[in-house]
Amino acid sequence: MSTASAENVAAALTRVRHAGVALRARSRAQILDSLAQVLDRWRDPTSKARLSLDLALPEATGFSREVVRAGLAHALEGWTGDALRAVVQRELGKSAGVGEDECTFAGGFETTSVLLAGALPSPTLLAILAPLAVGSPVLVRTSSSDPVTARVVAASIAEVDPGLGACVEVVRFPAGDLAALDALLSADCVVASGSDATIGAIAARIRPGRRLVAYGHRASVAVVGPLALTPSALPETCQRLALDVALWDQLGCLSPLAVYTVAADRSAGGDLAAALASALAEAELRLPRGRIAISAGAAFARARAEAEVRAAAGRSVAVYGSPRDPWCVVSEDSPEPREAPLYRFVRIHPVADLAALSSELGPLAPSLAAVAVSGFGTDSRSAAQRLADLGASRVCAPGRMQAPPLGWHHDGQGILTPLCRFSDLELD
């Protein structure tokens, strides 16, 4: 795909604006039927879209082919057409246009532009389908680290429904091309993902009256209670955690950066660290880690060596994995947060109880995405409630972190409602 100029971007926005006229004339049920077909095709590992990603994504993003395959299979597991209809019903209810007597009308904007970030394909799929589901055509700017997925999504929509396909345009331009960016930001609704700095810069450039839907960078953790730390439960707990870590090489916002062991016995962390190290070594055989930039590799090696020094200084810190292993587990002696080098580097922190955990996670709360929770038995619900109160937008079981439901409240928001204009009709 060639680089788009500001004029190219503006022209693409005009094209989708025109295509949107026909889109809005269609019933939402008809649109949903087509999008449901797209999702159902994507769930098929032999579909054209999936085979395209199998081929192109590893080279483009650096993820290994095995991680791309397993990551997509995992992520799309519950992303059925019916799940999409359920989300529409849940978020928009009667306002979705199902009934005749609704008093609230929800409609997408005349145009929506989407600025993608990162290299994980499933958020790209949803970012493009969601505006269409509410009747808005989409102009997408690909992320620099994944120029592939958005094009594959657009092609698969066009294949199922050419009319709907005309409502999606994909452009690519360099980060420094502010004229092209401004052309993109002139859409009626802008969806942006990225760091706080990126979101802030975009917000500053959006004209008043435009809608900005922002998704920031987030962090996830796992919390393991006493029942998941018993010798019989530990292997399965760690296999599940290893899967959460290995998929997308720990780079997604749903990847756990650290595991907190909630137990009176502080040695529980060491046992879990050893078992998780074994599980990560096994995971490496099935899901090898992908490319790693030298700067990231240096940060990984440095964090590992620093942990070794702390261990050598007599602190109760243990490092698992050799310097050449593409993973590392560090059993820390305190809950104090430390640098997270990513790329399958997991720290295990001990905490005495759930109250202490809340206190330790407090500073992270504004950035908390998902928390995997296991091993609390009858206290599971109260543990989950505590984490939800802290700000986690998703609490799930280990092994499920990379498989969010289609309707997951990403950043605590709905999938569709932020993309809609609501009108309350109060007629006699």
Partner: protein, 383 residues
């Protein structure tokens, strides 16, 4: 090993540092290797955390066959613990890395300043004032150069190794009669611009070459003020700049090229006369650009004979191929009291007999949506 072993090591390294420096400055590989292995054996035994760290990696005095085998500690380790090869009560000075209350500061404990101070002058002279080694004039001028420092004086910043270094330079060069009226131009945490400017104008009036030293961000402040006043100074021939440090945490960042262009525009000092110094609080020795020592040759950083630089592939721990990017690892015989091999947080690339620093490129966050490590820790308050 006894304290006398340490004293003997210090004496050997000091003797090397005190030998006359030259433009050629032979690296003396065999001498370095012998001393590095002696020093490793000493520190393996006397710095217990380091000894255990090395043993875990299978490196002991029995297995280390070359200085290249000596395991480096990551520079971050100096933030975690006191890496010293002497009894705590023997500490005479502590240098600390810069930092805020929200970050840990690295600390270098010293039981003597002798090696630290002895290493400063020869490196500086060879790379910044090579005329003193060559016995030639500074440009066309017969006047002694004057040294102005855009950094706080040691009394104001006693834990700053940079201030200490500048203090030693001023003291030693003045005692040898090598420089004219010189001094510090940062006080109370602020650039004393008027004083700095009048010192420059006085040097111009006497046709005395200036050696302007300081941190990169202090230069930016001074140059910004010159620009605000619309001032351009034609400093005497032979003038030069030595800048050091980066811009992390500063309100304004400039590329090195942009900084050098500003220096040329406002001070009439060409980039070929600007020397970047690469140093760290955790190390005794410094590394300087080659531009004044070897004019016309490619710019690269050079080490004094008692220090070595390796560029290491982080994935394998092996040395990077010539010209390939690697993590900068420094072996510094001046670090007798702590640990002599330090892995920096910087990336670099070899250039002939030297190296260039590439810096710390962002990496991990580029491919994912996970919160970058630094960002996550920023909000967490004092560690």
């Amino acid at each position: 090993m006894s304290n006398s072993a340490r004293a003997a090591l210090d004496a050997k390294v000091l003797a090397w540092m005190r030998e006359p420096a030259s433009i050629a400055w032979p690296q003396e590989e065999e001498r370095f290797d012998r001393l590095a292995r002696e020093l490793f054996a000493f520190q393996f035994e006397r710095c217990a955390p380091y000894g255990r760290f090395c043993a875990r990696r299978g490196r002991t005095p029995a297995t280390v066959q070359s200085w290249r085998d000596v395991p480096p500690v990551p520079s971050g380790a100096f933030k975690e613990l006191a890496l010293r090869s002497f009894a705590p009560e023997a500490t005479v000075h502590v240098f600390r890395t810069s930092g805020t209350s929200a970050t840990r500061r690295g600390q270098l404990y010293l039981d003597t300043l002798a090696l630290y101070e002895a290493s400063v002058l020869p490196s500086f002279v060879v790379h910044v004032l090579p005329e003193l080694v060559r016995g030639s004039l500074f440009g066309q001028s017969a006047s002694r150069p004057r040294l102005r420092v855009l950094a706080p004086a040691p009394l104001e910043a006693p834990d700053s190794s940079l201030s200490h270094m500048f203090g030693v330079l001023l003291r030693e060069l003045a005692s040898k009669g090598a420089i004219g009226p010189s001094g510090f131009d940062v006080a109370g945490g602020e650039l004393r611009f008027e004083g700095w400017l009048s010192a420059l104008e006085d040097a111009m009036a006497h046709d005395a070459p200036l050696v302007l030293c300081g941190t990169a961000f202090a230069f930016v402040h001074a140059l910004d003020e010159l620009a605000r006043r619309g001032a351009r100074l034609a400093l005497p021939a032979g003038s030069r700049v030595m800048e050091t440090g980066g811009f992390k945490g500063r309100a304004r960042e400039l590329s090195r090229e942009a900084l050098y262009a500003l220096i040329e525009e406002r001070l009439s000092i060409a980039p070929a006369r600007v020397v970047n110094q690469y140093g760290m609080t955790e190390l005794a020795s410094q590394f300087h650009d080659s531009v004044l020592r070897f004019p016309g040759a490619p710019r690269r950083k050079l080490a004094p004979p008692w220090a070595r630089v390796r560029l290491v592939d982080p994935a394998t721990g092996d040395e990077a191929l010539p010209g390939e990017v690697g993590v900068i690892v420094i072996h510094d015989l001046g670090n007798t009291g702590s640990v002599c091999a330090v892995e920096t947080a910087d990336l670099g690339r070899s250039i002939g007999d030297g190296f260039e620093v590439i810096g710390r490129e962002p990496g991990a966050e580029a491919r994912g949506c996970s919160l970058a490590a630094d960002e996550m820790l920023t909000g967490l308050g004092p560690a």
